[in-house]
Assembly symmetry: C2
Homo-oligomer: 318 residues x 2
């Protein structure tokens, strides 16, 4: 597998080339319809102002290594950050487009076991199904709050698997949210692949393992943050995430992302401590946000979303 040797130079051209080589999105028309309905419904509230809408991305994207895909490179991400943040955004009165990796953590379901159906329910003799008393509250909350957000039109869930699907849907969302101006926000918590095999240079069939080691050359995914900020959604409030395992380089990289991609905020987090604290980097300051350890079960996303909402308000008023 070879990367394209003569890659185009600017981010815009690179992303154009990426999209042209990507396999077409299967359910594009259906996604478009859902997006239109959602944005229309949220375009004006009683006071004539646009509702605030945030697109939360969550979970990792995959990179297929074969066209008829058997193997792929994946990015570890449970979707915990994105699903928790979605709950706090809804609580703060935002409408949320939750762009999530299939199979990852869903809003309101974070405390449930891996397989809630088999682990939380029993069936009784009179052919009905019953929640185990120990899980009853959690299960009821998950079902009720999810239904209420989805049916009320405050939560639109759109799934992805590959990097190709993710970037194509994100572009559709960005274009749909333009009409909301600064009331729209992008909260990009997904773990997006940075290397991929360009579709046109990808092998059709399963890679054979008969003969010795496998050498792979992966191309860099074009820096989508730049194009999102400059072209797709130039007026929206944009927050990106930087995850590293090496604390020494984390803040430097977060700073670089802020400047290079003109993000309004970068949330820096370290793999081992990411559920305890994050550092919010803006042009003016670096703010450490910690979860309230005096409260059992308190999330770092609670103070984080309060801070984000606060800065978004200032941005809208400016």
């Amino acid at each position: 597998m070879n990367s394209t040797d003569h890659a185009p130079e600017t981010p815009t051209l690179k992303i154009k080339a990426f999209f042209e080589s990507a396999p077409p999105l299967k359910d594009a028309a259906e996604i478009q319809t859902k997006l239109k309905e959602f944005v229309d419904r949220n375009s004006s509230s009683g006071n004539g102002k646009a509702n605030r809408v945030v697109c939360v991305t969550s979970g990792g994207t995959t990179v297929p290594l074969e066209k008829r895909c058997v193997r792929y490179i994946d990015n570890f991400s449970s979707g915990h950050r994105g699903s928790a943040s979605t709950e706090y955004f809804l609580k703060a009165g935002y409408s949320v487009i939750f762009l999530y990796r299939r199979g990852t953590c869903q809003p309101f379901c974070r405390s449930l076991p891996d397989d809630p159906l088999l682990e939380c329910f029993t069936s009784t003799d009179d052919s009905s199904v019953q929640v185990d008393p120990s899980h009853a509250e959690m299960v009821k909350r998950a079902i009720t709050e999810n239904r209420s957000a989805v049916n009320g039109g405050f939560l639109l869930k759109l799934p992805f698997t590959t990097i190709f699907e993710y970037l194509q849907i994100l572009r559709m969302i960005a274009v749909s949210l333009r009409s909301l101006g600064p009331s729209a926000m992008f909260y990009l918590a997904a773990a997006v692949s940075d290397f991929y095999v360009p579709w046109e240079s990808m092998t059709m069939h399963k890679i054979q393992s008969a003969s010795g080691p496998l050498d792979m050359r992966l191309a860099q995914v074009p820096k989508m943050l730049y194009v999102l900020r400059n072209e797709w959604a130039p007026v929206a409030f944009c927050i990106s995430f930087k995850l590293e395992t090496d604390t020494d380089i984390l803040l430097g990289k977060a700073d670089m992302a802020l400047k290079k991609y003109k993000m309004h905020m970068v949330v820096a987090n370290e793999l081992q401590t990411r559920k305890e604290e994050v550092i919010v980097v803006t042009e003016q300051e670096k703010i450490t946000v910690r979860r309230d350890t005096t409260q059992p079960g308190a999330d770092v996303e609670d103070p984080l979303i309060k801070l984000v909402v606060d800065r978004h308000s200032a941005y809208i008023d400016a």
Copy 2:
């Protein structure tokens, strides 16, 4: 990343080197206890003969690319084959050790939507949780049959994620099942990685994406089938799977696996048609097994497991 340059020569030495370099299994003691209980319970039935026990492996293994894992290579596998086969083995009176990839399809849950909790349930005003009538039968069946198999001691579920976990647990199972002699079976439907990054040559931190394309060299995973058949479980009945996307090479590769690893059966399947038909390759014959298309919802695993059980009986009696 470099593969080990001077790899040991024989499969046994290769797998020994693989295990020595693998990160230790975290819950080894707990798995050992569960296995012991399960095998003891199934070691003799009323007639003094050992119960039949099959280890069904299901879903794909991952290969971490970093020690503090952010990225990994994954093998696409829904776990549908393994979970369906488990149901038919239980129906045929076998006890099943279901060695499955976390998050993949579970026995009795194949027909449920992706997220059964949020998609099949509603909550009512009197603070109870209710199944939607359209899903009631399926949900009840999933919960009842799973509970009955697990609580009855016929089904032991053990999860894995990485290739390191998978091979270590498989070895533990093989050693535990030795006492059952020919009554034990291995039905290896999992999609096992064939390339990996040896743990000792793996980078500690997240691979940086700053500078150009990424070159990777992956080493071959030692051929575990050979060691399973020859050392871990020399008397058990062994069935492996061969999945290809290219029909032209499929049967040749299945034949090779049969001879090279001395499998009793190899189930050959093609990615596009794998839910419709498979070809069972034995030393004597090639049998095409198709699902019964006159029955709505019939699975190819139904006739497949009947054939497997039949051949296993002949093997025990021989």
